[in-house]
Amino acid sequence: VTEARIAELVERALDYRGYVTLRRSDGSKLVGFVYNRGATHLDLLDETATQRTRVPLDTISDISFTGEDAAHKAQEIWERRKGKLEPRDTPAHGDWGEAGKILVLVALREELHSVARALGVSARGAVVRGRVSGSDVVAVAIGMGADGRRAIGDHRPWLVMACGFSGGLDPSLVAGDLVVATGVRSPGRNTLLAPEPPRKAAVVALDGVRHFEGELVTAASVVTVDEKRSLAGSRALAVDMETYSIAQAATEAGVPWLALRAIVDSLDSSLPPFARKGRRGYLWPALRYAMSGPRAAMELLQLARNAHRAGAALEAGLRRLCRALALAEARR
């Protein structure tokens, strides 16, 4: 193939609104969209529209127009419907579909505050709504041990995120550490593996933030230190009371799920008795507990510090996660 022929093909490729295949002198092939050319090179964007390659013209032996020409396709569609308009009720997003909701499920309203702060809104009541990168985010406090089935049915999200505080089962975990679940199990039941795409996106989004990946275990009630030690042998990283039920409800609804937990109590500690039950408010029970003795007061102070750390970590993690997941969905 002569230089003149290659030059002619390059001009055609630049004008072509579809993918082309470059055959190179070494026999290799490159497929992509030609968006630029210079005197000695052309620039190509690959088929995933992520990788740019500069190809010297003297290494090209042929160019074939292998992808569909989007301009020709538009012409054909227009000719087919010539004069006929799209109906009034065509979806507002045209052929692209609207980005769906992310549903964040937490157990307690105290956890909902972290979600609200991450979304930049104020938390009033048991539901918080925000918008991140064009995607709606709804967070619901479903109560301790609940499965969120109703919230999933009501909001029909594209992703369910089980979120909130948890107890550490691994000795290296301290208050404020984040855990992204690779799976979740419940005593006597099968392990549910976390769907890979949102989990991977989450790990990328949390780059630079202290976090761990591993299994969660869901218990029926707040576990004591002894119970935690016996669960620790299972190699699970953390224990909570909702992730398994939420994951099961999401799986049954055909919605991918993701779990992000912040450690509030480490392996060698547990929550004080008043905090082991779901309540409307924790202020009075906490004060009563603090007045029961200096040791209880110290324990409570430590819990407050840990809860603050966990809340801040959750907020920071969620801020990154919601944005990354919303963008990933928008690109999908």
Binding site: D15, R17, Y19, F33, L45, T48, P87, S133
Partner: protein, 338 residues
């Protein structure tokens, strides 16, 4: 003229600085295309014909701000594609406004009403709503029923919340001047700040090739459309550009006046032609062979072009460079006659 005083002052100061720096080529409006995706398939549009993977891509907030900083133009026209389909469009606009750019967010307004909550009214932000004429003509131009009504409702909602709203109208062959004049009345009655008009560019990739205006026909049509303009009409454009459309004055194209940035980079040479891309704004300005473009160059793709992105900067530049042109502009502003 429907251009706020603060914007006029900023542009005038900017132009003065360019003159003092003896710059021959400088940008006036950055045409920022953060995505090519659109929720319409308009008959005269040659902007969105790409493979689906490219249509799914968009510029990040940081890329948009960086392009605006690199270019330095005081005005940023956010086009596309439909910018309101960008997941981070509100952040992009907020960031540009924080950088004190006058932002014109060009939209078909289908998503505008539901997205208004994401934006804050500002003297730096104007929604530039695509309106190609009266109801029938507009719906035909965008190939969908009911879009005119949706856009009118969105304009009302945006105005009620204190946003600046302008319209942008592309005129094609077959437009009825009298109906267009009535359309201008309707838009001004709605309360828009100003209107922008331009003939459509004959995109080679647009599905409908039969309705692009030739130069002579443009003069005739715009003369009838804009002749004896009503006092109530307000155009968000240079009066000299409108006179250029009417054939009363001639300009050469300044393609560098409205440089275009999108996912491929800095588009050569202008918003309408795609002769490749430069990696940096400097490369675009310094390494593009500008002599190959414009009517005098003989480039066949430029012969019938009278589009605002090439000639509005010429008109604005002329206003500030020639006393006669300035006098003409002032006369138009005082008398309201084009």
């Amino acid at each position: 003229m429907g251009i706020p005083a603060a914007q006029m002052a900023t542009v005038a100061t900017y132009l003065l600085k360019q003159r003092l720096a003896r710059r021959d080529r400088y940008p006036l409006v950055l045409m920022l295309e953060p995505l090519f995706r659109c929720n319409l398939s308009c008959t005269g549009c040659g902007k969105i014909q790409y493979p689906v993977q490219i249509l799914r891509k968009h510029l990040s907030v940081e890329e948009c701000v960086s392009a605006s900083d690199e270019c330095g133009a005081p005005i940023v026209s956010v086009a596309g594609g439909e910018p309101l389909m960008h997941p981070d469009i509100a952040q992009i606009v907020r960031a540009l406004v924080e950088h004190r750019r006058f932002v014109y967010l060009c939209t078909n307004a289908i998503l505008l009403e539901r997205k208004l909550d994401e934006f804050e009214p500002s003297k730096y932000l104007s929604f530039s709503v695509h309106m190609d004429g009266p109801r029938t003509e507009h719906d035909h131009s965008v190939c969908r029923e009911g879009v005119y009504d949706v856009a009118v409702s969105a304009i009302r909602a945006a105005l009620a919340r204190g946003f600046r709203v302008t319209t942008n109208t592309t005129v094609f062959e077959g437009s009825d001047p009298e109906r267009m004049r009535a359309f201008f009345d309707d838009m001004m009655e709605l309360g828009v700040e100003g209107m922008m008009v331009s003939p459509g560019y004959s995109y080679e990739k647009a599905p409908d090739q039969d309705h692009f205006l030739r130069r002579g026909r443009s003069h005739d049509l715009f003369s009838r459309m804009l002749g004896s303009p009503k006092r109530s009409w307000s155009f968000n454009q240079s009066p000299l550009f409108l006179q250029f459309l009417m054939g009363k004055i001639d300009f050469e194209c300044t393609p560098w006046g409205n440089p275009t940035y999108n996912i491929f980079g800095w588009q050569r040479p202008c918003y309408l032609l795609q002769d490749g891309y430069a990696k940096t704004f400097r490369e675009l300005m310094e390494e593009t062979d500008w002599s190959k473009y414009g009517r005098k160059s003989g480039n066949p793709r430029c012969q019938d072009c009278m589009v605002h992105c090439g000639f509005e900067p010429s008109a604005v530049r002329a206003t500030f460079e020639s006393p006669q042109a300035m006098a003409k502009t002032l006369a138009t502003l005082v008398t309201g006659r084009l």
